[in-house]
């Protein structure tokens, strides 16, 4: 029988990190599902890039994939903070339920829901009724001017366009490399991880990249405009590619 595990917790608590430790194992088929954001999921893309042997399942394919799972399969459902813990879909699967929670959080809906609690990052759990909004957009084909990207990330995470508690992004740079960027409010610094992908040095990359911002009062249009202003023109990109 396939094994289903649902993992939930507040934004930035370390759900994806917790799942990633098991995805290194290639001995049995593994599946990763991250519902809620459709095709524009940074986690889905990052897991796909980092663990190419894992089958990442977009929401549109979920029903078909679940209907045809091998017996030894393990399916990880990353259940975002914005999704209903009482979902009949989850209940119907008979999932093992794991909550990744800040160590100082002792009482919450996640505690009631979970079969077991794992200590995660010491992030602030959102107060009831004040759940943050999530804004995401694909950036596929966009290649960033590196100093502009640095400014953009500093401004977005610094609160220039609303209060941000989480930012995840996959960004393409003119040297052909792609980076995963991760910011969690309350944790030190911003994490930059180069993705293990072949350098893209011919034209605009067609592989997925994008950004996901979680917070309150997000000025989506201003963020989008800043993203556009930070992207390289065809001429500038071609000049970079000739150099590399």
């Amino acid at each position: 029988m396939p094994h289903f595990i649902a993992i939930s917790g507040p934004s930035g608590s370390g759900k994806t990190t917790w799942i990633s430790q098991f995805l290194k194992d290639q001995s049995t088929p593994q599946f990763y599902v991250c519902p809620g954001l459709g095709e524009i999921s940074m986690d889905l893309a990052r897991i796909g890039y980092r663990f190419p042997w894992v089958q990442v399942v977009a929401e549109a394919q979920l029903r078909a994939v679940l209907a045809d799972l091998p017996d030894q399969a393990t399916v990880y459902f990353e259940w975002g903070f914005h999704l209903d813990l009482g979902s009949p879909f989850l209940a119907g699967l008979g999932c093992e339920r794991v909550a990744v929670l800040p160590p100082d959080l002792t009482e919450s809906d996640w505690h009631t829901w979970a079969d077991r609690v794992v200590a995660g990052n010491a992030v602030a759990a959102p107060a009831n009724g004040h759940l943050p909004e999530v804004w995401c957009t694909p950036l596929t084909g966009q290649v960033f001017d590196p100093p502009s990207l640095e400014v953009l990330l500093l401004e977005v995470t610094g609160g220039a366009y609303g209060q941000v508690c989480r930012l995840k992004g996959i960004f393409e740079l003119p040297n052909g490399r792609a980076f995963y960027v991760d910011f969690v409010e309350g944790l030190p610094g911003m994490e930059y991880t180069e993705l293990n992908l072949p350098p893209w040095l011919a034209g605009r990359p067609s592989r997925f990249s994008g950004i996901e911002v979680t917070g309150w009062g997000l000025e989506q249009q201003a963020i989008a405009q800043t993203l556009l202003d930070s992207g390289l023109s065809d001429a500038a990109l071609s000049q970079y590619h000739q150099h590399f």
Partner: protein
């Protein structure tokens, strides 16, 4: 004699008023201004009118030049594509807002001002656009001061105030002319100083406070001043005037960034 040196006001009337009040309390005998009266800030005309009304000797800054002559960028102008786009927005806004007589006044400003052994410039004696960063190569820095024929060179443009002392300035020059042997000359330069006044209206030192410099010509004492002011008023005016709101956000954090200041080896080619 006590001098006050101010620079890079960038249309920030509130900051200029606060700095002038601070100068009053320190009883400066003379004020010099190193330019960049306009650009980014919401009150370029009022700033120019105030500086003119007080007869403050002023040299031309890079933004003042751009308002007179139009944009003519060297690659050193902006540290990023994003900064360049925002800089152009600020230029277009200022270009529309500036009064004709203010533009005429900016066109009359000299590149350099002098008082005895002191020289006042916006960027460097070479150009309003060149940065004299504290990390600049010592030889190049000394060359800039010597070319100004001064003992103390006052500059702005970087928006971060500093004092740099250039001592032990020994220069060796070898000359070989056709048909003649090589000759070597040595020059010893006396102590030279570069004093950067920072920025009144657009600080870049991580706090919103205005900065300027006091200089005592008798004791040669340099005092870097940091002056708090009601920056929220300027931020509100930035938004009211239709300038990009991100300018207000950055001003409130002392994060001015719109021009490059991270390449000490770069020589401006304008």
């Amino acid at each position: 004699m006590k001098l006050a040196v101010i620079s890079c006001i960038h249309g920030n009337y509130e900051a200029l008023n606060a700095v002038l009040s601070d100068i009053d309390t320190h009883r400066a005998d003379q004020i010099y201004c190193l330019g960049d009266l306009a650009g980014y800030g919401p009150h370029p005309n009022a700033v120019v009118e105030l500086v003119r009304s007080l007869d403050i000797p002023t040299c031309q800054g890079c933004w003042d030049e751009d308002i007179v002559e139009g944009l003519n960028a060297c690659e050193c102008s902006y540290p990023s594509q994003l900064a360049e786009k925002r800089g152009h927005l600020a230029h277009e806004w200022t270009n529309r807002a500036i009064h004709p007589e203010v533009r005429k006044y900016l066109a009359t400003l000299p590149m350099t001002l002098r008082q005895d052994n002191l020289c006042f410039v916006h960027g460097s004696p070479n150009s309003q656009h060149e940065y004299l960063l504290p990390s600049m190569d010592g030889f190049a820095a000394l060359e800039r001061v010597l070319s100004a024929e001064a003992d103390v060179l006052f500059c702005g443009h970087t928006h971060v105030p500093y004092l740099r002392e250039l001592d032990n300035g020994t220069l060796s020059v070898k000359v070989q002319q056709p048909g003649q042997g090589e000759t070597q000359h040595q020059f010893t330069a006396p102590l030279k100083r570069i004093v950067n006044a920072g920025s009144v209206g657009e600080p870049r030192h991580g706090r919103p406070n205005a900065t300027y410099v006091l200089y005592d010509t008798d004791s040669a004492q340099v005092t870097l001043r940091e002056v708090p002011y009601d920056y929220a008023k300027t931020c509100a005016a930035i938004i009211e005037q239709g300038l990009p709101p991100i300018f207000a956000w950055r001003l409130a954090r002392g994060m001015e960034f719109a021009e490059r200041a991270d390449d000490p080896g770069h020589v401006c080619e304008r």
